[in-house]
Symmetry: C2
Subunit: 330 residues, 2 copies
């Protein structure tokens, strides 16, 4: 294993401390925790937004903390849910009196621990609600779907809604609407190495790819010989488009998300094909971004996310935000 | 070689087309070229900014085209200078009557071809000037230094100055001031694969790293056994700090730049150490960013850049910009 680390057991702590040091104007690490909050938290009379999960997906989650997006992010160990006490710390740190919304990715450990923290916070008199992101269309049954790159669209849109002064109910409602209208699917060419473990979490052959893979290396739909970028892009696009029942005349926001080890030029090549397909299908492209937004350490791979947008979502996507990782849409 | 490509010979063309399709609200690809321009180019009575170079460093250069930064970027083949005719197309496309500044990285091919294009444009009556970025302190002699990640600070600061309506002379002057005050140095753990060639451009042993490496895999200062993140960070920091003669009480902007294949968490771990060292040395951190800004395809590695900032540079760094890749500083 070749990585830029010190003690592999300390990598999450040092990551969080590093992020807070680098972005010290806008982010604060609550001492003794892996919680990152906005430097002005709690913001009075604003719904607080908390997300989090296992580390290894950077810039998710703390890279999306800041004005217009999350108020706090909680980092667990690599690919492991954060503990309820850390989540509780995040909730109490960002409660500005208008309630707190938890944005949870659909993994058993995350759901359990975030819900437990929700109960603990409610016992302290804080109003808390949650939404569960499950955008990975590789899994047939909706309730079993993993939360992947579509999560950052929930962060952005709910974050902008909260920043506007909306109520907890209204912020939750728009987050739910994003979740119902977003679909994602990924593909990998290689595995990644958890620094605390030191070896690949799965193996792929020298000419193999795996379609439908999860962001922790969970098995996908099929392994096959590597195909052309256009062919792979089309398979992901068709699957998501069918799942969302995308229709001519509708409009989408789009993410071509790198898993961490794939050059940006390959993401642009993939994006070119998806844009062509959307055009052929008569679906408008509202805004699109390509880059490493929800990664799996150094995995070579990418995912495609499409969100059917309505007028409110479009306004909220263009609202100003300042976070380390979300691009400046115009 | 496992990559998301179609025809490896077409990867640059498809990258540029993909970028323009994804960001169609703000970017345009001039048909039949690998030139990307702002959709509102040429902007009347504004100095036009043109940069470019070999592909494979994405998001450099086209990811920095947009309001407040570059007016045009020209992409050559992977790790190969663009041709003078393509650079000339970029210049003529962004000339708004106030002259054009070329921002060239210090590589023989780039310098030759950009200067040739400059002469061709001047023969057409366009006022053109250039600056040459040479921030890689791994090379002792200043005139031989390569242009690396510090280039994007030239793009940002000169871009903001041009956007303010400044003259060609004034935009060039601030770009030169950035170049005189920025230093960078890189380290690699692995090579990268040019898609048109299909094999690694160099080899590193299973426990080896190379300090001082260039963004095309040019040889560095030394190969050694992999050291801790903190130790590597300190070596790069000391070398840059000494080169810039950084003094207590001065202020810097900082980039921890991923080479393409290194997880963001490792960049944050490195950033943590550099922030600690700056603090010990009494150097203020004005703004810092960590991410993949100037890459070498999927190379595992990173570079550190430090820019001694003055009041004007600070204002220009915080000026608004909208490009695919430069983060929203606040």
């Amino acid at each position: 294993m070749k990585k830029f680390v010190n003690d592999p057991q300390e990598v999450v702590t040092e990551t969080v401390q590093g992020l807070a040091a680098l972005y010290h104007q806008t982010l604060v690490n609550i001492p003794g925790t892996t919680v990152i909050v906005r430097e002005d938290a709690p913001v009075k009379d604003k719904v607080g937004l908390v997300s989090g999960g296992g580390s290894g997906h950077e810039p998710l989650h703390a890279g999306y903390v800041g004005k217009g997006m999350l108020d706090a992010a909680v980092a667990g160990a690599v690919f492991t849910s954060p503990t309820p006490d850390q989540i509780l710390t995040a909730i109490t740190s960002v409660d500005g009196g208008k309630g707190v919304l938890l944005i949870i990715k659909n993994y058993a450990g995350d759901v359990m621990n975030f819900k437990l923290a929700e109960q603990l916070a409610e016992a302290q008199g804080i109003e808390v609600a949650h939404v569960i992101v499950n955008d990975d269309v590789a899994i047939p049954a909706r309730e079993n779907r993993r939360g992947v790159a579509g999560t950052i669209l929930v962060h952005k849109i709910a974050g902008a809604k909260a920043e506007s002064g909306a109520s907890l109910g209204d912020v939750k409602a728009v987050a739910e609407r994003v979740i119902q209208n977003v679909g994602s699917m990924g593909v990998a060419l290689s595995s990644c190495i958890n620094p605390a473990v030191g070896k690949p979490i799965f193996n792929l052959g020298e000419k193999e790819m795996e379609i439908g893979i999860g962001i922790h290396g969970e098995a996908g739909i099929e392994r096959s010989e590597l195909q052309s970028a256009d062919s792979i892009a089309e398979q992901l696009y068709r699957r998501i488009s069918r799942d969302l029942s995308l229709k001519r005349g509708e409009e989408v926001a789009m993410i071509v998300n790198g898993m961490g080890g794939t050059p940006l030029m390959e993401l642009d090549v993939v994006g070119r094909k998806v844009c062509q397909l959307l055009e052929l299908d008569g679906v408008q492209r509202f805004r699109a971004i390509a880059g490493n937004f929800v990664t799996s350490l150094e995995m070579a791979g990418f995912s495609l996310s499409l969100l059917r947008v309505d007028e409110e979502m479009k306004q909220l996507l263009l609202a100003p935000q300042s976070t380390p990782a979300f691009p400046n849409l115009v």
